[in-house]
Protein backbone atom coordinates (compact mmCIF):
# COMPACT_ATOMS: atom_id res chain seq x y z
CA UNK A 1 0.00 0.00 0.00
CA UNK A 2 1.48 3.29 -1.04
CA UNK A 3 2.01 5.87 1.66
CA UNK A 4 3.75 9.18 1.20
CA UNK A 5 5.24 8.99 4.66
CA UNK A 6 7.70 6.27 3.66
CA UNK A 7 8.75 7.50 0.24
CA UNK A 8 12.48 7.61 1.10
CA UNK A 9 12.50 3.88 1.81
CA UNK A 10 11.17 3.09 -1.62
CA UNK A 11 13.95 4.76 -3.58
CA UNK A 12 15.83 1.56 -4.04
CA UNK A 13 13.02 0.10 -6.12
CA UNK A 14 12.04 2.87 -8.48
CA UNK A 15 13.55 6.24 -9.09
CA UNK A 16 10.75 8.74 -9.03
CA UNK A 17 8.13 6.71 -10.85
CA UNK A 18 6.45 5.68 -7.66
CA UNK A 19 6.00 9.15 -6.26
CA UNK A 20 3.62 10.17 -9.01
CA UNK A 21 1.38 7.27 -8.18
CA UNK A 22 0.27 8.49 -4.81
CA UNK A 23 -3.37 8.46 -5.75
CA UNK A 24 -4.78 9.01 -2.27
CA UNK A 25 -5.16 12.65 -1.46
CA UNK A 26 -3.69 13.51 1.95
CA UNK A 27 -6.35 13.56 4.63
CA UNK A 28 -5.96 15.77 7.69
CA UNK A 29 -3.81 14.01 10.25
CA UNK A 30 -6.13 12.31 12.64
CA UNK A 31 -5.49 10.45 15.84
CA UNK A 32 -2.30 12.46 15.94
CA UNK A 33 -0.33 10.12 13.70
CA UNK A 34 -0.12 12.56 10.81
CA UNK A 35 1.42 10.31 8.22
CA UNK A 36 -1.21 10.88 5.56
CA UNK A 37 -4.04 8.68 4.41
CA UNK A 38 -3.49 5.71 6.65
CA UNK A 39 -4.39 5.37 10.25
CA UNK A 40 -1.89 2.96 11.62
CA UNK A 41 1.82 2.44 11.29
CA UNK A 42 2.26 0.20 8.31
CA UNK A 43 5.29 -1.79 9.30
CA UNK A 44 5.61 -3.73 6.07
CA UNK A 45 8.29 -1.44 4.67
CA UNK A 46 10.71 -1.07 7.54
CA UNK A 47 13.00 -3.80 6.20
CA UNK A 48 12.98 -3.22 2.44
CA UNK A 49 16.03 -5.40 1.90
CA UNK A 50 14.07 -8.44 3.03
CA UNK A 51 12.20 -8.43 -0.22
CA UNK A 52 15.35 -8.60 -2.26
CA UNK A 53 17.83 -10.74 -0.41
CA UNK A 54 16.00 -12.36 2.40
CA UNK A 55 18.45 -11.27 5.09
CA UNK A 56 17.87 -8.52 7.62
CA UNK A 57 20.34 -5.63 7.56
CA UNK A 58 23.26 -6.71 9.70
CA UNK A 59 27.02 -6.82 9.97
CA UNK A 60 27.29 -10.24 8.33
CA UNK A 61 26.33 -9.04 4.88
CA UNK A 62 29.55 -7.30 4.05
CA UNK A 63 29.71 -6.34 0.43
CA UNK A 64 26.09 -5.20 0.04
CA UNK A 65 25.17 -1.67 1.00
CA UNK A 66 22.63 -1.75 3.74
CA UNK A 67 21.66 1.92 3.73
CA UNK A 68 18.09 2.56 2.77
CA UNK A 69 18.69 4.95 -0.08
CA UNK A 70 20.75 2.53 -2.15
CA UNK A 71 19.51 0.09 -4.78
CA UNK A 72 21.02 -3.10 -3.39
CA UNK A 73 20.80 -6.43 -5.10
CA UNK A 74 23.19 -9.32 -5.54
CA UNK A 75 25.95 -8.77 -8.10
CA UNK A 76 25.92 -5.02 -8.00
CA UNK A 77 29.66 -4.66 -8.07
CA UNK A 78 30.00 -6.69 -11.27
CA UNK A 79 27.82 -4.50 -13.47
CA UNK A 80 29.93 -1.40 -13.37
CA UNK A 81 29.31 0.14 -16.76
CA UNK A 82 26.46 2.63 -17.20
CA UNK A 83 24.68 0.68 -19.93
CA UNK A 84 24.11 -2.30 -17.73
CA UNK A 85 23.18 -0.07 -14.84
CA UNK A 86 20.56 1.63 -16.98
CA UNK A 87 19.19 -1.70 -18.14
CA UNK A 88 18.99 -2.86 -14.55
CA UNK A 89 17.21 0.36 -13.62
CA UNK A 90 14.70 -0.12 -16.43
CA UNK A 91 14.12 -3.68 -15.37
CA UNK A 92 13.44 -2.55 -11.85
CA UNK A 93 10.98 0.05 -13.09
CA UNK A 94 9.15 -2.57 -15.10
CA UNK A 95 9.05 -4.95 -12.20
CA UNK A 96 7.72 -2.23 -9.96
CA UNK A 97 5.01 -1.30 -12.42
CA UNK A 98 4.04 -4.92 -12.88
CA UNK A 99 3.78 -5.33 -9.16
CA UNK A 100 1.51 -2.28 -8.91
CA UNK A 101 -0.73 -3.60 -11.69
CA UNK A 102 -1.01 -7.03 -10.07
CA UNK A 103 -1.86 -5.42 -6.76
CA UNK A 104 -4.55 -3.32 -8.35
CA UNK A 105 -6.09 -6.33 -10.06
CA UNK A 106 -6.00 -8.31 -6.85
CA UNK A 107 -7.60 -5.44 -5.00
CA UNK A 108 -10.83 -5.95 -6.90
CA UNK A 109 -11.25 -9.48 -5.60
CA UNK A 110 -9.68 -9.62 -2.19
CA UNK A 111 -9.28 -5.97 -1.16
CA UNK A 112 -5.84 -6.37 0.32
CA UNK A 113 -5.57 -2.84 1.63
CA UNK A 114 -8.76 -3.17 3.65
CA UNK A 115 -7.50 -6.53 4.89
CA UNK A 116 -4.44 -4.86 6.37
CA UNK A 117 -6.59 -2.88 8.74
CA UNK A 118 -7.89 -6.03 10.32
CA UNK A 119 -4.44 -7.31 11.14
CA UNK A 120 -3.14 -4.09 12.65
CA UNK A 121 -3.24 -5.27 16.23
CA UNK A 122 -0.91 -5.15 19.15
CA UNK A 123 -0.51 -7.26 22.24
CA UNK A 124 -2.55 -5.03 24.52
CA UNK A 125 -5.50 -5.15 22.14
CA UNK A 126 -5.34 -8.93 21.84
CA UNK A 127 -5.16 -9.38 25.60
CA UNK A 128 -8.06 -7.01 26.23
CA UNK A 129 -10.17 -8.55 23.49
CA UNK A 130 -9.67 -12.06 24.79
CA UNK A 131 -10.59 -10.85 28.24
CA UNK A 132 -13.65 -9.22 26.74
CA UNK A 133 -14.76 -12.44 25.05
CA UNK A 134 -14.58 -14.35 28.32
CA UNK A 135 -15.92 -11.61 30.57
CA UNK A 136 -17.88 -8.93 28.75
CA UNK A 137 -20.20 -8.08 31.60
CA UNK A 138 -18.32 -5.12 32.99
CA UNK A 139 -17.51 -3.34 29.75
CA UNK A 140 -19.64 -0.25 29.32
CA UNK A 141 -18.84 1.55 26.08
CA UNK A 142 -19.40 -0.69 23.05
CA UNK A 143 -19.48 1.83 20.23
CA UNK A 144 -16.77 1.92 17.61
CA UNK A 145 -15.31 5.28 16.71
CA UNK A 146 -15.65 5.10 12.95
CA UNK A 147 -13.93 7.43 10.58
CA UNK A 148 -16.10 7.89 7.46
CA UNK A 149 -15.67 4.86 5.24
CA UNK A 150 -12.31 3.61 6.44
CA UNK A 151 -12.40 0.65 8.78
CA UNK A 152 -10.72 1.63 11.99
CA UNK A 153 -7.56 -0.21 12.95
CA UNK A 154 -8.22 -2.38 16.01
CA UNK A 155 -5.09 -1.07 17.64
CA UNK A 156 -6.86 2.16 18.49
CA UNK A 157 -10.29 0.95 19.42
CA UNK A 158 -11.02 -2.12 21.46
CA UNK A 159 -14.49 -2.54 20.02
CA UNK A 160 -13.31 -2.86 16.44
CA UNK A 161 -13.34 -6.36 14.94
CA UNK A 162 -10.05 -7.85 13.86
CA UNK A 163 -9.04 -10.91 11.89
CA UNK A 164 -5.90 -11.74 13.81
CA UNK A 165 -7.61 -13.41 16.75
CA UNK A 166 -9.92 -15.46 14.51
CA UNK A 167 -7.13 -16.78 12.31
CA UNK A 168 -4.91 -17.61 15.25
CA UNK A 169 -7.83 -19.20 17.08
CA UNK A 170 -8.67 -21.29 14.04
CA UNK A 171 -5.15 -22.66 13.73
CA UNK A 172 -4.92 -23.26 17.46
CA UNK A 173 -8.24 -25.06 17.36
CA UNK A 174 -6.98 -27.39 14.64
CA UNK A 175 -3.86 -28.11 16.66
CA UNK A 176 -5.73 -28.77 19.90
CA UNK A 177 -8.13 -31.02 18.00
CA UNK A 178 -5.14 -32.97 16.75
CA UNK A 179 -3.77 -33.19 20.27
CA UNK A 180 -7.07 -34.44 21.64
CA UNK A 181 -7.33 -37.02 18.90
CA UNK A 182 -3.87 -38.11 19.88
CA UNK A 183 -4.93 -38.70 23.47
CA UNK A 184 -7.70 -40.92 22.16
CA UNK A 185 -5.30 -42.74 19.83
CA UNK A 186 -7.28 -41.67 16.80
CA UNK A 187 -4.70 -39.33 15.38
CA UNK A 188 -3.25 -39.41 11.90
CA UNK A 189 -1.97 -36.47 9.86
CA UNK A 190 -4.95 -36.60 7.53
CA UNK A 191 -7.20 -35.88 10.48
CA UNK A 192 -5.71 -32.42 10.78
CA UNK A 193 -6.58 -31.65 7.19
CA UNK A 194 -10.05 -33.13 7.58
CA UNK A 195 -10.71 -31.04 10.65
CA UNK A 196 -9.45 -27.86 9.06
CA UNK A 197 -11.55 -28.43 5.99
CA UNK A 198 -14.61 -29.26 8.02
CA UNK A 199 -14.37 -26.24 10.28
CA UNK A 200 -13.84 -23.97 7.29
CA UNK A 201 -16.85 -25.47 5.55
CA UNK A 202 -19.08 -24.84 8.56
CA UNK A 203 -17.81 -21.29 8.82
CA UNK A 204 -18.56 -20.73 5.14
CA UNK A 205 -22.08 -22.13 5.49
CA UNK A 206 -22.77 -19.94 8.49
CA UNK A 207 -21.48 -16.86 6.69
CA UNK A 208 -23.47 -17.66 3.56
CA UNK A 209 -26.69 -18.10 5.51
CA UNK A 210 -26.17 -14.89 7.44
CA UNK A 211 -25.37 -12.91 4.29
CA UNK A 212 -28.45 -14.34 2.60
CA UNK A 213 -30.58 -13.39 5.58
CA UNK A 214 -29.10 -9.89 5.60
CA UNK A 215 -29.94 -9.45 1.92
CA UNK A 216 -33.46 -10.85 2.07
CA UNK A 217 -34.44 -8.94 5.18
CA UNK A 218 -32.81 -5.84 3.76
CA UNK A 219 -30.86 -4.84 6.82
CA UNK A 220 -27.27 -4.39 7.83
CA UNK A 221 -25.78 -2.46 4.95
CA UNK A 222 -22.91 -1.32 7.09
CA UNK A 223 -21.88 -4.78 8.19
CA UNK A 224 -19.11 -5.86 5.88
CA UNK A 225 -18.26 -9.45 5.04
CA UNK A 226 -14.90 -9.30 6.80
CA UNK A 227 -16.51 -7.92 9.96
CA UNK A 228 -18.98 -10.76 9.91
CA UNK A 229 -16.22 -13.30 9.39
CA UNK A 230 -14.45 -11.91 12.40
CA UNK A 231 -17.54 -12.06 14.59
CA UNK A 232 -18.44 -15.55 13.50
CA UNK A 233 -14.93 -16.81 14.19
CA UNK A 234 -14.66 -15.55 17.73
CA UNK A 235 -16.31 -18.76 18.81
CA UNK A 236 -13.14 -20.68 18.00
CA UNK A 237 -11.62 -19.10 21.09
CA UNK A 238 -14.45 -20.49 23.20
CA UNK A 239 -14.18 -23.87 21.54
CA UNK A 240 -10.52 -24.06 22.42
CA UNK A 241 -11.29 -23.21 26.03
CA UNK A 242 -14.03 -25.84 26.23
CA UNK A 243 -11.88 -28.51 24.66
CA UNK A 244 -8.95 -27.75 26.95
CA UNK A 245 -11.29 -27.93 29.94
CA UNK A 246 -12.37 -31.36 28.80
CA UNK A 247 -8.75 -32.46 29.02
CA UNK A 248 -8.59 -31.60 32.69
CA UNK A 249 -12.10 -32.28 33.90
CA UNK A 250 -13.56 -34.57 31.17
CA UNK A 251 -17.25 -34.23 30.29
CA UNK A 252 -18.34 -32.11 33.22
CA UNK A 253 -15.67 -29.49 32.65
CA UNK A 254 -16.44 -29.47 28.96
CA UNK A 255 -20.13 -28.79 29.42
CA UNK A 256 -19.56 -26.25 32.17
CA UNK A 257 -17.05 -24.25 30.16
CA UNK A 258 -19.21 -24.58 27.06
CA UNK A 259 -22.23 -23.13 28.86
CA UNK A 260 -20.29 -20.27 30.38
CA UNK A 261 -18.52 -19.45 27.13
CA UNK A 262 -21.78 -19.53 25.20
CA UNK A 263 -23.20 -17.05 27.66
CA UNK A 264 -20.28 -14.68 27.50
CA UNK A 265 -19.89 -14.96 23.74
CA UNK A 266 -23.61 -14.31 23.24
CA UNK A 267 -23.43 -11.27 25.49
CA UNK A 268 -20.38 -10.01 23.66
CA UNK A 269 -21.95 -10.51 20.23
CA UNK A 270 -25.27 -8.98 21.27
CA UNK A 271 -23.67 -5.86 22.63
CA UNK A 272 -21.26 -5.37 19.77
CA UNK A 273 -23.64 -6.09 16.91
CA UNK A 274 -26.55 -4.23 18.41
CA UNK A 275 -24.55 -1.05 18.21
CA UNK A 276 -23.54 -1.51 14.60
CA UNK A 277 -26.81 -2.95 13.28
CA UNK A 278 -29.27 -0.72 15.03
CA UNK A 279 -27.39 2.51 14.58
CA UNK A 280 -27.47 1.96 10.84
CA UNK A 281 -31.04 0.80 10.45
CA UNK A 282 -32.72 3.62 12.30
CA UNK A 283 -31.46 6.05 9.71
CA UNK A 284 -33.29 4.27 6.86
CA UNK A 285 -36.55 2.78 8.05
CA UNK A 286 -38.77 3.64 10.93
CA UNK A 287 -38.65 0.85 13.48
CA UNK A 288 -39.47 -2.17 11.29
CA UNK A 289 -35.89 -2.67 10.20
CA UNK A 290 -34.48 -2.56 13.68
CA UNK A 291 -36.89 -5.24 14.85
CA UNK A 292 -35.83 -7.56 12.03
CA UNK A 293 -32.17 -7.00 12.70
CA UNK A 294 -32.74 -7.71 16.37
CA UNK A 295 -34.42 -11.01 15.48
CA UNK A 296 -31.55 -11.93 13.21
CA UNK A 297 -29.08 -11.09 15.95
CA UNK A 298 -30.99 -13.22 18.45
CA UNK A 299 -31.08 -16.16 16.05
CA UNK A 300 -27.35 -15.77 15.46
CA UNK A 301 -26.66 -15.79 19.18
CA UNK A 302 -28.84 -18.83 19.80
CA UNK A 303 -27.16 -20.77 17.01
CA UNK A 304 -23.59 -20.15 18.19
CA UNK A 305 -23.63 -22.57 21.15
CA UNK A 306 -25.07 -25.32 18.97
CA UNK A 307 -22.37 -24.88 16.40
CA UNK A 308 -19.71 -24.87 19.10
CA UNK A 309 -21.14 -28.08 20.55
CA UNK A 310 -21.47 -29.72 17.15
CA UNK A 311 -17.92 -28.96 16.12
CA UNK A 312 -16.32 -30.22 19.32
CA UNK A 313 -18.49 -33.08 20.48
CA UNK A 314 -16.63 -35.75 18.61
CA UNK A 315 -13.41 -34.68 20.27
CA UNK A 316 -14.69 -34.90 23.80
CA UNK A 317 -17.54 -37.37 23.94
CA UNK A 318 -17.47 -40.93 22.75
CA UNK A 319 -19.37 -40.78 19.51
CA UNK A 320 -19.06 -43.18 16.62
CA UNK A 321 -16.91 -41.19 14.28
CA UNK A 322 -15.13 -44.16 12.71
CA UNK A 323 -17.96 -44.89 10.32
CA UNK A 324 -17.78 -41.37 8.95
CA UNK A 325 -14.07 -41.60 8.36
CA UNK A 326 -14.44 -44.82 6.41
CA UNK A 327 -16.69 -43.49 3.68
Amino acid sequence: MDNPGSVPTKNFRLQGGRRSRQQKQPLPPQYGYGQGPQFFDDTTNIYPNLQFQGQPPGPATGWNNQTFGQPSFPGQQILGDPMAAMAMQYGQTLAGQGKVIVNEKLEKFVSVSKLKYYFAVDTAYVAKKLGLIFFPFTHSDWSVHYNQEEPVAPRYDINAPDLYIPSMAFVTYILTAGYLLGTQNKFSPEQLGIHASSALAWLTIELAIILLALYVLNIGNSLKVLDLTAFCSYKYVCMIAAVLASLIFSSLGYFAVLCYCSLSLDFFLLRTLRVSLLSQSTSDHYGGGSRRSLYLLLVLCVVQPFIMYWLTRHLVLDVGVQSNVME
Binding site: I194, S197, L200, W202, N218, H285, V321
Partner: protein, 83 residues
Protein backbone atom coordinates in the same frame (compact mmCIF):
# COMPACT_ATOMS: atom_id res chain seq x y z
CA UNK B 1 -18.52 -35.01 10.63
CA UNK B 2 -16.24 -35.34 7.64
CA UNK B 3 -17.72 -32.38 5.95
CA UNK B 4 -15.26 -31.09 3.44
CA UNK B 5 -15.18 -27.99 1.30
CA UNK B 6 -15.88 -30.21 -1.69
CA UNK B 7 -19.17 -31.44 -0.27
CA UNK B 8 -20.02 -27.81 0.41
CA UNK B 9 -19.36 -27.08 -3.24
CA UNK B 10 -21.53 -29.99 -4.32
CA UNK B 11 -24.39 -28.90 -2.05
CA UNK B 12 -24.16 -25.33 -3.30
CA UNK B 13 -24.15 -26.54 -6.91
CA UNK B 14 -27.25 -28.63 -6.31
CA UNK B 15 -29.04 -25.73 -4.64
CA UNK B 16 -28.20 -23.33 -7.46
CA UNK B 17 -29.35 -25.92 -9.99
CA UNK B 18 -32.62 -26.17 -8.10
CA UNK B 19 -33.11 -22.42 -8.28
CA UNK B 20 -32.21 -22.35 -11.95
CA UNK B 21 -34.97 -24.78 -12.96
CA UNK B 22 -37.77 -22.63 -11.54
CA UNK B 23 -39.35 -21.35 -14.72
CA UNK B 24 -40.88 -17.93 -14.37
CA UNK B 25 -43.79 -18.22 -16.76
CA UNK B 26 -44.76 -21.80 -16.23
CA UNK B 27 -44.34 -22.06 -12.51
CA UNK B 28 -43.59 -18.97 -10.52
CA UNK B 29 -46.43 -16.90 -11.91
CA UNK B 30 -48.87 -19.71 -11.22
CA UNK B 31 -48.01 -19.75 -7.51
CA UNK B 32 -48.02 -15.98 -7.28
CA UNK B 33 -44.27 -15.46 -7.22
CA UNK B 34 -44.01 -13.81 -10.59
CA UNK B 35 -42.24 -10.51 -11.00
CA UNK B 36 -45.07 -8.74 -12.76
CA UNK B 37 -47.55 -9.28 -9.97
CA UNK B 38 -45.55 -7.37 -7.40
CA UNK B 39 -47.26 -4.19 -6.25
CA UNK B 40 -45.30 -1.11 -7.16
CA UNK B 41 -43.72 0.35 -4.08
CA UNK B 42 -42.30 3.71 -3.22
CA UNK B 43 -38.63 4.28 -3.80
CA UNK B 44 -37.10 4.72 -0.39
CA UNK B 45 -39.22 2.16 1.38
CA UNK B 46 -38.60 -1.31 2.60
CA UNK B 47 -38.95 -3.83 -0.27
CA UNK B 48 -40.30 -6.69 1.82
CA UNK B 49 -39.11 -10.25 2.16
CA UNK B 50 -41.11 -11.77 -0.71
CA UNK B 51 -40.06 -9.28 -3.36
CA UNK B 52 -36.43 -9.57 -2.24
CA UNK B 53 -36.66 -13.33 -2.63
CA UNK B 54 -38.27 -13.00 -6.06
CA UNK B 55 -35.52 -10.62 -7.12
CA UNK B 56 -32.91 -13.00 -5.79
CA UNK B 57 -34.36 -15.94 -7.72
CA UNK B 58 -34.50 -13.90 -10.89
CA UNK B 59 -30.93 -12.68 -10.52
CA UNK B 60 -29.60 -16.17 -9.82
CA UNK B 61 -31.38 -17.47 -12.90
CA UNK B 62 -30.03 -14.70 -15.08
CA UNK B 63 -26.46 -14.68 -13.84
CA UNK B 64 -25.81 -18.36 -13.28
CA UNK B 65 -27.42 -19.75 -16.43
CA UNK B 66 -24.19 -20.01 -18.43
CA UNK B 67 -21.67 -20.74 -15.65
CA UNK B 68 -23.89 -23.53 -14.38
CA UNK B 69 -23.48 -25.37 -17.65
CA UNK B 70 -19.73 -25.45 -17.26
CA UNK B 71 -19.79 -26.17 -13.54
CA UNK B 72 -22.17 -29.07 -14.05
CA UNK B 73 -20.05 -30.54 -16.84
CA UNK B 74 -16.92 -30.26 -14.72
CA UNK B 75 -18.59 -31.84 -11.69
CA UNK B 76 -20.05 -34.69 -13.73
CA UNK B 77 -16.68 -35.47 -15.27
CA UNK B 78 -15.09 -35.26 -11.86
CA UNK B 79 -17.56 -37.70 -10.37
CA UNK B 80 -17.30 -40.06 -13.31
CA UNK B 81 -13.55 -40.23 -13.19
CA UNK B 82 -12.98 -40.14 -9.45
CA UNK B 83 -16.13 -41.81 -8.21
Amino acid sequence: MTFTLYSLFEAALLCVNAVAVLHEERFLSKVGWGRDDQTTRGFGEDPGVKSQLINLIHSIRTVMRIPLIFLNIVTILFKLILG
